[in-house]
Structures are given as structure tokens and as C-alpha cells.
């Protein structure tokens, strides 16, 4: 374990930012935490989690896939990608780090999504242990330890220092580069902090939320539950939950005619949108009930079926905070479970 005096934090950031882009949670104009590029004088904010998840780094809101030029009957295909630059994300919480593993299962499974892969390879993640979990947090439900986050480097911020623990070669190399600022340290302050945080985690209102009901579940049984109607009743069909979710990865591919050529891009899409599955031949999910059900079936049932029981949720609690009508995965889980009792 390495230790960095808090007084040296900016120097540490400057050292990293010297060679590559460095991102971290910084308060924006709206008073929200947002991953932003660090520049001299920017202030790291660690009060709570960011509003948008860290998935943007690897799966941005929109990205250009390929360009076309059309002339007469001929088409030219242009792969306009350029080499990505290396970057470091500091301050990713345990839940968000886990979300990368979930996204990996989608994007890195065969056939590999090279756009995602390239970003993934260029990014180094310095995670940060939580000290003041929020009432909406329930990462423990999915077996995540908020005090011991995954990532290339794990970090803990105490009153006077930051402690680092490399967890991958990439992480190791990053720390080596900043070796001058770091010193070997005893991990007892970290252990003390973990202990303290655990007492909070135990007290969280959702501390006892369990996925048991959904483990090895027959998909038809959950699918056919009568509770979906009531749960989806007030859903506005917006994409807030989807877009703040660290694991939602549905996308749409569209063409944009610039007048000088065609740009094919992909962008976030939401299964909550009424046009998500609309196609020339018809619409298989006709009502908001079906679309709402799809989102939660995917996270709680389909994803585990296809991924050795791993759920498509990391308990970050963003949707609990941001849904305009306060309907969320916790309510869905509790309601469906309650039905059985």
C-alpha cells in the first residue's frame, strides 16, 4: 500500500495529467458532481457519487462509427477513427467499477466491439472507497464492497492522506510513474476507515435488500407477474433511469447526412422509449408496461441467465434519485418479491 500526503494531491494529479488526460468528480455549475477533466486548480469533490455514471468514458452518449461518401451509384466507406489517447479516471466508486465488468461482458464478448475495447484499453481506473454511503446505496445487494473497490488502483482518502493499492499491471505502472510522491504505508488507517464505513453500510435502509427472489428464476414466471401493470402505471417513458444507469448499454445506430457525406453514429437508446423497438413491420412492445418490464427483466432475469447469475445492476442508486416519478429497481424487486410471500 502506498501513501500520498493530501498536501501533495495536486502535485500527484499534475504528474498524471502531464502525460494523459485525467478525469475526476468535480462539482459543476449546477452543483452536481460530474466527471470532468482535471486542470490546474480544479477541485476534486468526493462528497457523494456523480450524477452520471462513469460508463461515458467507455460508452459515450454518442460516437461516430463510420463515414460514407456517396457519389452516383458508388459508395466510399471511411473509418475516420483516430488513435485514442490514454486517460486516467480517478475517484470511481465501487459500484461504477463493477459496472465496467458488466459492460465488458456485453461489449467484449464475441464479436468484440472495437470502439469500446479501444477506450477500455486506453483507460486506467483509480477507484475510491466510499466513506459516507447514501441512503439510496445498495451495492452490497450485488456483492460489492464499497470499502474495497475494484479497478486498476484502489484508493482511500483519509483525513490527511490518500492510500493507494495497485490491483493490476496497468495500475502498478501508473503508481510507479508517480513514485516520487508516494511512500510505503501501513494499512491500518485504511482498515479503520473500512470499519467505520461498514457500520454505516449496515445501517443503510436498503442494507438487507436481497436478490434471492431472482436467483435461478424461470423467466416466464417473473415475466407473467401481474404486478408489472401497477409498477409501470406512472412511468413517463423517459430515458432518465437508462441514461444515469452505469450498466444500461442499449444503443441505436443512425445515419446523419451532413450534406457532404453520411456519418453513421451510435447513441444511447432506452428500452423505455416508445420507438425503441419500432420497425417497418410493426412494434412488438406496444405499451409502456412491456417496455418497463423489459428494462427490469433484463437487469434481474435475462442478464443473469446469460451471464452465470450475475445481475445487471450494481446498486449505485442513481435511478432512485433521478426518476421523475420515483419508480425504480428497488421498488420493482420488493414488489415482485412481496407477491410471492
Amino acid at each position: 500500500m502506498k501513501k500520498l500526503s493530501l498536501a501533495n494531491l495536486d502535485a500527484f494529479f499534475a504528474k498524471i495529467a502531464d502525460k494523459q488526460a485525467l478525469y475526476m468528480p468535480i462539482e459543476n455549475k449546477a452543483g452536481q458532481l460530474q466527471f470532468q477533466r482535471w486542470t490546474e486548480g480544479a477541485k476534486l469533490s468526493v462528497g457523494c457519487n456523480t450524477v452520471r455514471s462513469a460508463k461515458d468514458f467507455f460508452f459515450p452518449q454518442t460516437e461516430n462509427l463510420v463515414d460514407f461518401k456517396v457519389k452516383g451509384k458508388e459508395i466510399e466507406i471511411i473509418d475516420s477513427r483516430t488513435e485514442k489517447e490514454d486517460f486516467v479516471i480517478f475517484g470511481v466508486r465501487a459500484c461504477d467499477v463493477r459496472s465496467f465488468a458488466i459492460l465488458d461482458k456485453v461489449f467484449l464478448s464475441n464479436p468484440v466491439d472495437t470502439y469500446y475495447k479501444s477506450r477500455r484499453e486506453h483507460g486506467t481506473i483509480i477507484s475510491l472507497a466510499c466513506t459516507h454511503p447514501e441512503e439510496t446505496c445498495f451495492c452490497r445487494t450485488f456483492g460489492i464492497d464499497a470499502t474495497q473497490p475494484e479497478g486498476d488502483v484502489a484508493s482511500w482518502i483519509t483525513e490527511d492522506a490518500v492510500y493507494f493499492q495497485p490491483q493490476s499491471d496497468k495500475g502498478q505502472k501508473l503508481l510507479e510513474k508517480c513514485g516520487a510522491l508516494l511512500e510505503e504505508a501501513d494499512e491500518s488507517p485504511v482498515l479503520r476507515q473500512k470499519q467505520q464505513t461498514k457500520t454505516y453500510l449496515d445501517k443503510l435502509p436498503l442494507a438487507t435488500l436481497s436478490t434471492k427472489h431472482f436467483e435461478n428464476k424461470d423467466q416466464l414466471e417473473v415475466f407473467n407477474s401481474e404486478k408489472w401493470a401497477e409498477l409501470s402505471e406512472a412511468c413517463l417513458g423517459c430515458g432518465t433511469c437508462t441514461f444515469v444507469c452505469p450498466t444500461c448499454q442499449c444503443y441505436d445506430i443512425r445515419d446523419f447526412d451532413t450534406g457532404k457525406g453520411i456519418k453513421r453514429f451510435r447513441c444511447w437508446d432506452s428500452c423505455m422509449y416508445s420507438d425503441f423497438t419500432k420497425m417497418a413491420g410493426g412494434q412488438p412492445r406496444l405499451t409502456q408496461l412491456e417496455r418497463f418490464r423489459q428494462r427490469f427483466m433484463h437487469k434481474l432475469v435475462y442478464f443473469p441467465i446469460n451471464n452465470d447469475g450475475e445481475f445487471g445492476c450494481v446498486g449505485c442508486g442513481r435511478c432512485l434519485k433521478k426518476c421523475p416519478i420515483s419508480m425504480n429497481i428497488v421498488k420493482v424487486m420488493k414488489t415482485l418479491e412481496g407477491e410471492e410471500k
Binding site: I75, D79, L220, R266, C271, A280, M297
Partner: protein
Amino acid sequence: MNTEALIPKIGVVTDIRIDTPDVKTFRIVGLDGKKVFEHIPGQCAMLSMPGVGEALFSITSSPTNKDFLEFSIKKCGCVTDWLHQMEVGQQITIRGPYGNGFPVETNLKGKDLLFIAGGIGLAPLRSVINYVRDNRKNYGSVQIIYGSRSKDDLVDYREIIDEWMNDEGIEVNLTIDREQEGWDGHVGFVPNYVKELNPDIRKTVLMCGPPIMIKFTLAGLKELGFQDTQVYTTMELRMKCGIGKCGRCNIGSKYVCKDGPVFRFDQLGELPNEY
């Protein structure tokens, strides 16, 4: 498989055949004049005109055809409208092949096969039929029951008459929905015709057509004594990426573009009825 799954290749349209008033068959080769890729019968490919859109279509030609790919496409939307007004020599983009295809080298081998198709549903089956015809010794008897609204709406009519009907060991049963002048064949809906023909229940069924036809034919087959495990179908649902990632083509836990489009009915039975 293509290393850049989302970046297409260029295909050149070398032949356009008008099958029915709203179905055309397009022959496509690569820029080098060769086949763009190899495939398994039942697989699909994503065709697109930049700026118009991208859509997934079954490959209609058989893998045994070494020269080109063919797609029979029915006009029913923005992309297909555009494809229908193309002329020979037009370039389009193509990527694929996608999906599992029919188990022609495993489960179907040595079996007596019954093909049931309605309308444009013949398109994916034609690939299998021609594959079977070209590897005749690997399969048992072949029966094809094909129906459409009218004589004019029978896709690949010439090929059926000139080639399939002349093949030994292939029984072709055609039907149209309503009486029509110049038609002395069977008249009636496919599900009823299947029941009338009362096929041997040891056959393996490959079925494709409009949902309503599938529904009633399946019920009819079951009445005759067929099991879900004997019947395969293929679906084309709201696919966008073609590689199981964009998240819209799933039926329950299965992605049509990746785990399908060919499903056996016993598999579908375990999935939500959301298709």
C-alpha cells in the same frame, strides 16, 4: 468473422429480379466481384444505403452458390423502398453474416424435411432448400408446402416450377389464398392445406411466414401429432446492431440476431411471448 463488426463492406448489385409486385431479389457481390462472405442457410445480413438506413435481411441464396449472395426483399418501409428503386450497378453496404442459421449439418442431417412457407417467408427457406438439393444424399425426403395470397405473390415461382418440381425426391405443394384465373392448383390457406396433406409426422419441419400463419400451422401440426422439438422457424425482429449488443431484438433472454433467428418451438416455448 468481420473484425470490425459495425463497419460494413461494399456490395455491388449485379442483378435484380422482380419476383412479385412487391418482392424483388437482389444479387450482390463484393467490389472484387466475389462473394462478400460465406454463410450458413438461415443466416442474415445487414444491408444499408448510407443516409437511408440499415436493415437486416435473410440470405436467400444457398451457401453452395459460390459466386454471389441473393436477397429476396419485400417492400415495406424506408430502406426497402429505397432498395426497390435501385438499378443494377448500384453499390450498397453489407455486413454479416449474422445469427445461428438452420442446423443443416447437425440436427437436420439425414432427416426427412418438410418446408412450410407463406409469402415472403420462403426467402430464408430457399437457402436451405437449395442447400439440401445440392447435398441431396445427406437428407431424406423433401416436401415443400408454399402458399401466398395469389399466383403473382409466389416468390421464386420460376425456380420452383423449372427446378424444384423437376427434382427427384422433392414434392412441391403450392397453394394460393383465393381462386384466380389461370390457376388450376390448390386454393386455400397454408394451415388448412398442411392438414389436408397430412404429412408424415416423422418429418422435421422448417417453417417461415407471417405470424398468423405460423400460429395456425403450428396448431395444425400439433393436431397431426408433431412435437415442438420437430419444428424450426426463423424470426426477423427489430434488429439493429446484428451482434447481440444494442439490446432491442431480444425475446426474453435470447437475442434474435445472435441466438436466433432460427429457433425450435420448444425453445420458444420457454421464452416470453413478446414477438
